[in-house]
Symmetry: D3
Subunit: 211 residues, 6 copies
């Protein structure tokens, strides 16, 4: 089996929706999310570069583009399950790794196997590109939750997602691109007109103060 | 927090879709699936009763109606992940159990906690009602896959789901209701007009012969 | 023709939507509604049992699960048409009954006809189980309308549905389960954050005072 | 209350779907159907005119455009219910008429009430324009069912709808526009490539021979 | 090729959505929009007639019904592109005209070509019927944008569409039907309950004062 | 205005669908398409690299990721309109260029304007990366059309899209990655089981023979 199955499988990512059962105003497929994360990583990488950092662009694009492909064969395990105990988390990581290997050996032609093993493995490592991916993934999630909050979705889960995303982003506040996001992007978002503007501004200020 | 959150959460099950990214012609929510499984269990129970078995109807309806409610807080872990190793499977079962307990203690008022712990625990046990649930769950899955096959969906995954469902049903062939399903229901399904009728009839005959 | 057509028809209930053209934020199929009503009946039955009532669980589950199946061949006649005159209402009830009989004789195998005639007939009778069904049907409708109100749907029709549902529920206020709903569930619902909270609280208080 | 409610209500017709639960490949709203029926009536009227008939265009457009507006407050009563007995049918027709009158008196400003009473009453009368409406309504239904058949929907209900539509159209075969449809349009439709072409051609030939 | 392709193509207009990517609460197909514009034109024509004007009803219905059919083969060119320069606008108008001619010659049988050339050409001319079409097209767009504003869509683009629609309508304020719309319909719309009522009332008053 | 509007606008690309009104089985948003094209470009670039070519990965990812962003403010002009005359085509290209410049100056902060002008300009140039983008865009379109053909969509437009895509791909047959696609990927696609397999294989063989 050659690359035909891989190319065809990209379309399946158009049909897997994130946080099923949560979004009421706009749903987001894994394919769309991957596009947006790659766009955001492209922008954050640009900020880093202007701040004097050296970006390995090939690595950055590759990490962002492929970071959720394995959802196709692993599925979407809820975070509280995944993180229930350290042992369980380690075992699940092992299973994911060995399932990715199986997938690559079964679905990718031999000349490309090493390359796709690299592309499909967990990309959120300690490199600058890995860190930008971690931030980009959460910036998109923050915008997805904001999209619901702004349209008036009263479910508290979106405030929780907003908080959780911002908390992760703040863990990378040593990055120039995160500083830029906090100083130039987030204030614009919070200045949009929406009903609970004050509440969200307070949550944001508190989280930033604590970080 | 009282039963309001529980009643409200039923609506979230209308928005969680089964096998995300697979069904092209008709998608099935967890709420709809639960309705259909309970209807099928109602019918299979009737067959058992006519064959002289004693059915605990309260238990049967309860098992069928509630059997997928925990997907709300556990998520949908792909079967190959779940069954990767016996240790992992046992650990995941433990996590599901303790998460269900947490959920019940947090979301269900005290006078109903014992009852809902019972209702939300794994229902596919060795009792006749537990066995009928196992069969009903797979009969609905078999019909869901047949719905795609009949409409001409060429993806082989639906033939695989059909086979897997029938294999599980056949594991319960000692039940009068399974005998009825094999003799009276399945032949009608296979006599519907559709393109790959011959192929599906052969798969079915082979599986029944082997069982 | 055997039970194959019946099982297959369950899927058609996934495609019939309630109050077509009204819900803007979340639509509800007849299959999903039947699931939710059965869940609610399960809970209200539990409350009755704890209050010392004897519940015929088989009957309660059966009534709730099957109560809207006949929409498949009768359709959705708007309430004002149905109740235009007492004569018309009686004639429509007769037509529904004879169509249900025709359906059972045509689609259900002989050994199960008597059972399904019972299951598909109007379940909202004077028994405790029939009364719980009447209440459960309206509790789900009340939650469906509340879902729209909470998300900010400004159409007055949802306030009207809320009022009409609550009015019917209050007609059964002699039931312990309705007392529980009014004292423990409804206040939680009204304490959720949403724009017109005050208006809905007032409507509710007025209706309860009048009941 | 003035015409604002009427104009706003047009949008509700975009959300009411025809034959709910039946169409798998493409659903059709009442608004879209009304547009297509008016387009088809426009064409059939043109054929009549070229055949020397005098068309009252104002009446024809008015009948076609408004013919399903009352579904908004009457709902969709299944044909077998509607036609169960002649008495029931007459009573339902009376109810529809008096509900239309109520609607007009309540929702349409006085200067336009007489005009809208005329526009919203049953348009399928004995006039040439009324007959063209009857035919146009069924031509669109025939195309809707053909859309499913051509895409491979195996449900026999669409063949039944095709037959029923063609039967009604043939009842108007004295019209030049129906002759044109049978001689010039239908053969093109039947020459499209699709799996059951032969079967549909035979059904068509048989119905035409019998007519 | 005869009229079969034309009748079949009507269904494609059910799948083309207006302002793709903008509407969050309710999308509108070109088919639905054409239905609503024809209904609105029917009403505005009635007002003109009561004001003593002579309406060519055949022309009015024809213009409204067919005014967006050519989107099928021209596509949806964004307004700023269309109006970038007068030369570009003229060239695009020429291209549309010659593509419409090509379409008619290729898809419409000879006896109907002259009639459909007339039906498919730009209908917004200087005649009273052409002016009513211009107004009706914008009244529907105004209601589409209001639908989003009333449901709480915070995107400023809908206020801009509302303003732009009203501005075009005001350019025809010499018409009795526009006077009626401004005096009797618009105030009812602005009296509906919605969050930004005051802002929209002010925008409206300012535009009317300036007109 | 800073990058907030740009990040937020990515979500609008999730709501713009390609070839509106055509796809019946699966629709594709511009966001999803951009993801798939970037994935395909990633693979074709890998083939080129293994064939000894030097790939500028940053440029390749950038071209693929951003190639349809401008659809947000330009819209979707049908190809026959775009290519009606050479003069019109040149004028439209000028308009697109100046609108992109306006967009960048209005929506992108000054420090990033030069970079985004480069990112948003037409990427299909004579460089190897530009050629890979041209091929990747058509490979995705070919898969999109194949998705409909395989599921049995009888509309000839998908065969036409398949042919047109393959023709453009063949124009780049001097590329090693196109050779790989023709020899290793396309035969796998044509060996899938579907009804019109023979017809599509013949079309493909004819086009390759002619190329």
């Amino acid at each position: 089996m050659g690359m035909h199955q891989y190319i065809k499988s990209l379309s399946d990512l158009e049909n897997i929706y994130r946080c099923p059962g949560k979004f009421k105003y706009q749903e987001h497929s894994v394919a769309s999310h991957s596009f947006k994360v790659t766009q955001i990583a492209q922008f954050l990488g640009t900020v880093e570069e202007q701040a004097g950092e050296k970006i390995d662009w090939r690595s950055l694009y590759e990490k962002a583009l492929n970071h959720d492909y394995t959802e196709l064969f692993i599925g979407d395990i809820k975070t509280p399950v995944k993180y229930a105990t350290p042992t369980l988390r380690a075992m699940l990581a092992d299973v994911e790794e060995s399932m990715t290997e199986n997938f690559v050996h079964k679905e990718i032609p031999a000349p490309f196997q090493a390359i796709y093993l690299e592309r499909l493995k967990e990309g959120k490592d300690e490199t600058l590109e890995g860190q930008i991916l971690s931030v980009s993934d959460k910036v998109d999630l923050l915008y997805e939750s904001f999209g619901e909050i702004q349209k008036g979705n009263p479910e508290s889960v979106f405030t929780e997602i907003y908080e959780e995303s911002l908390t992760t982003i703040l863990a990378f506040k040593h990055l120039a691109s995160v500083q830029y996001f906090l100083e130039k992007v987030l204030p614009e978002l919070l200045n949009e007109t929406f009903t609970n503007q004050g509440a969200l501004q307070k949550i944001t200020a508190d989280l930033i103060a604590k970080a």
